[in-house]
């Protein structure tokens, strides 16, 4: 490297196509990690494991990414927040209408109403909602609740009585026979009320077979308050899409794109942190072992061989389970097991350098042992440790992913790719065909590994003196 200089190293590096490709992948990953707060919100990172945060986001659960609309002949309804038109026909009454233009083939995932009021204690509000369909048919009193809470969230899909009322509307278009069959087999729990709301009013509507009814839907909400002090502060109607975002959502309604983006930051911190610390330890350890030699060398090498022969994953799982597997704990635990990796390589290099005449010369000049090591041996090995760091990163990232996949978060707050996969496994994403929950994190882990291997290979060729032409 000293012969090449920094510019020479870069020029040499650019000769390897694999290295350039790896560098592009690396820049992409680093970009994701740096711009994570811009691409996603910091809440996604800190509140990934807080169900209340995600409930407030009104995201659909387990839906594919939006871009699948570009493929296939059916379009999915996308996420939309509707603006209200509020009127007050009388002092105690609010009349609110939302208009929604439905153009897709696959109905939205859910319709969610959020009401914010400053309701006083002991008082109540009564909330009704009718849906007026483009064909003029009206689904009466889909929502019919009384509430004494200042924040009310009603999901048409998961509310207690809303789906029933929707199915009552739908079943009138079915034959007597079908109605009986449905009640006998208790099929309603597996049917989707959204098919009824957004379906053509004819036979098969409850099964979603009657086809989509496109046009303008009007959601008419009436909020009746008992006293004038109970004002309505805000009301929001969210159409949860049947597709969402760049990477879809998981079964808990979390935005997977956010998880992937923040996961890149954690993966890089863990990968680079573990690699740099372990290589630094190995550098000092290997050099000292080689330089001092004799029994010290023997002892240090046996210790290194002992540590490297410990089966890492089972032990890591137990340790990570006992301690909270937070990022810093994981880095610490991974370093404990990965520092022996580069020791042999560094020791063999130091052994070669130790025998060089300039080392004897340095000793003859009167340099102390530490000065000989730090000024005459380490600077020679240092360039090659860049390649060693690059080679150590994929192992750290993969081990972290493995531990996280097998263990889950266990109280840790950060989202990592491995933990996304752990959740996917828990909710049987593979069996239910939620590929968008499994493939992106898996792919990201591979990309991160690949990037560092490619860069490492190129660096190795440039910096390893034995391969240098």
């Amino acid at each position: 490297m000293y012969v090449l200089g920094w510019r020479g190293v870069i020029r040499e590096f650019m000769r390897y196509k694999g290295g350039i490709f790896g560098l592009i992948l690396l820049i992409f990953l680093v970009g994701l990690a740096i711009f994570a707060p811009v691409l996603s919100s910091t809440d996604v990172f800190y509140k990934w494991y807080e169900p209340t945060y995600w409930a407030a986001q009104n995201l659909p659960k387990g839906v594919p990414p939006e871009w699948i609309n570009m493929f296939g002949d059916k379009t999915y309804a996308t996420q939309a927040v509707l603006t209200p038109e509020i009127s007050q026909p009388s002092a105690l009454l609010y009349n609110i209408t939302f208009k929604y233009e439905y153009t897709a083939d696959i109905p939205p995932y859910d319709i969610i109403i959020d009401i914010f009021s400053n309701i006083t204690e002991g008082s109540q509000m009564v909330i009704f909602m009718d849906i007026i369909r483009p064909d003029g048919l009206r689904i009466y009193r889909v929502v019919d609740v009384q509430s004494d809470q200042s924040i009310v969230k009603i999901s048409l899909r998961s509310a207690v009585d809303a789906p029933k009322k929707i199915f009552v509307f739908g079943l009138q278009f079915e034959t007597e026979e079908t109605r009986r069959e449905i009640t006998e087999k208790g099929l309603l729990s597996v049917l989707n009320p959204m098919d009824v709301v957004f379906g053509v009013a004819e036979e098969g509507i409850v099964f979603g077979r009657s086809g989509p009814l496109n046009g303008e839907y009007i959601f008419n909400i009436i909020v009746y308050r008992l006293t004038e002090e109970n004002t309505l502060n805000d009301i929001k109607l969210t159409i949860a899409g049947s597709v969402y975002g760049i990477m879809g959502t998981d079964a808990l309604g979390r935005d997977l794109f956010g998880g992937i983006v923040w996961g890149s930051r954690i993966a890089l911190i863990i990968g680079l942190g573990v690699a740099i610390i372990s290589v630094a330890i190995a550098l000092v350890y290997g050099t000292l072992s080689a330089y001092v030699g004799g029994w010290t060398d023997e002892a240090l090498q046996r210790i290194q061989e002992f540590v490297i022969s410990i089966p890492v994953l089972p032990l890591l799982l137990i340790l990570a389970y006992v301690f909270t597997p937070s990022v810093w704990n994981l880095i610490f635990l991974l370093v404990i097991f990965s520092w022996p990796g580069p020791v042999k390589t560094i020791r063999s290099m130091a052994l070669q350098i130790r025998e060089q005449l300039y080392i004897t010369s340095a000793k003859a000049i009167g340099l102390s042992t530490w000065r000989v090591i730090s000024r005459y041996i380490l600077p020679q090995i240092l360039p090659y440790t860049f390649a060693l760091v690059a080679f150590s990163v994929p192992g750290a990232i993969l081990t972290e992913a493995g531990v996280s996949f097998l263990l889950g978060n266990q109280g840790a707050l950060e989202v990592t790719w491995g933990r996304i996969l752990n959740d996917a496994e828990k909710y049987s994403a593979v069996l239910t065909g939620m590929w968008w929950w499994v493939i992106p994190p898996g792919l990201m882990i591979s990309i991160a590994g690949l990037a560092f291997v490619l860069v490492g290979n190129a660096l190795d060729r440039v910096l390893n003196p034995r391969l240098l032409r």
């Binding site: 010369s361 000049i365 000024r375 020679q380």
Partner: protein, 318 residues
């Protein structure tokens, strides 16, 4: 004779290998006087380089000084601990020009930085002052002061050797050991380096120990010559005397084997040096000696002073 700088008494340096103990230097005695140039000659493996390393107590492991004294200013270098050796002896009292200057400079630092190193660690001067001193000393060895910014790979072999000589001079030590300073250099550069060594002796009065297998170089530079064979001193005396009239049969063989112009046949000494792990009883040269006698195989020859300051270890001079 002038002041005695160094005296070596009964020095033994052994290598403790798994195959046995190699007695590379075995009971060597000699003295060195201020201002003189002493040559140590002998064939490969006779222990001359080991002796050189022994003088600064830096024999590479598994070798070490087993016995004997190396006295400089009444201090026994052989008995000093590592830290005293570092601070008091190495480079301050004795510096060394290593065999194979090509590899004696680390590739990672500039020449200036490496030359300044002995100054910064042995004296209290700053790196900047040290660099100034380095620039002063470089013209002395025939190098331009600009060279301090260069890296070793940018220099030729001859330049590197000059740098090594400058480094040996930099602390103004009492003794400089030059271990095969011209090996691996071409003939013209060899001549330049030899002239440089002679000039330094003339101008600075450097006390030099020149280690070489090349007798023609010795004839050029040294005042006294010590011929070693199989870890022992065979002959020690004034170099012109030894060259004109060698006394030990080994020295005679060596000098006869210097190729001369016009001679078709090359002379050589038949046989091989003995295995130093298991040296023969008696004279170590006995097996190859054309004048071998019975006693040579039974008893080790002591030193016989055949003329003033001329010692020969051979039974012929009993």
């Amino acid at each position: 004779m002038s002041e005695k700088l160094l005296s070596v008494e009964g020095l033994k340096v052994y290598y403790f290998t798994s195959g046995g103990t190699v007695k590379a230097v075995d009971k060597v005695d000699f003295s060195l006087y201020r201002g003189e140039a002493l040559g140590i000659a002998g064939e490969s493996g006779c222990g001359k380089s080991t002796l050189g390393y022994g003088l600064i107590n830096l024999v590479p492991p598994p070798g070490r000084i087993v016995d004997g004294h190396i006295l400089i200013d009444n201090v026994d270098v052989a008995k000093l601990n590592e830290s005293d050796l570092r601070k008091k002896v190495r480079w301050r009292k004795i510096s060394m020009v290593f065999q194979g200057a090509m590899n004696a400079l680390t590739p990672v630092y500039t020449i200036g930085k490496q030359l300044a190193e002995p100054l910064t660690i042995h004296t209290a001067i700053s790196y900047k002052e040290a660099l100034n001193k380095v620039q002063e000393i470089l013209p002395l060895v025939g190098l331009s002061p600009e060279i301090i910014r260069r890296y070793p790979h940018e220099l030729s072999g001859g330049m590197k050797q000059r740098v090594m000589i400058a480094m040996a001079l930099i602390l103004n030590p009492d003794i400089i050991i030059a271990d095969e300073p011209t090996t691996a250099l071409d003939v013209i550069v060899q001549a330049q380096i030899l002239n440089l060594l002679k000039k330094l002796r003339r101008e600075l009065g450097v006390t030099l120990i020149l280690i070489s297998h090349d007798l023609s170089i010795m004839a050029e530079v040294v005042d006294r010559l010590m011929v070693m064979y199989a870890g022992k001193v065979a002959e020690l005396g004034k170099s012109d005397v030894i060259f004109s009239a060698p006394s030990h049969p080994y020295t005679q063989g060596l000098i006869a084997s210097i190729p001369k112009l016009g001679e078709k046949k090359l002379n050589y000494i038949p046989g091989l040096p003995p295995d130093l792990r298991n040296p023969p009883v008696g004279c170590r040269f006995a097996d190859r000696c054309p004048m071998v006698m019975d006693i040579c195989r039974k008893e080790e020859p002591p030193f016989f002073e055949i003329a003033k300051e001329h010692f020969v270890s051979c039974w012929l001079y009993r």
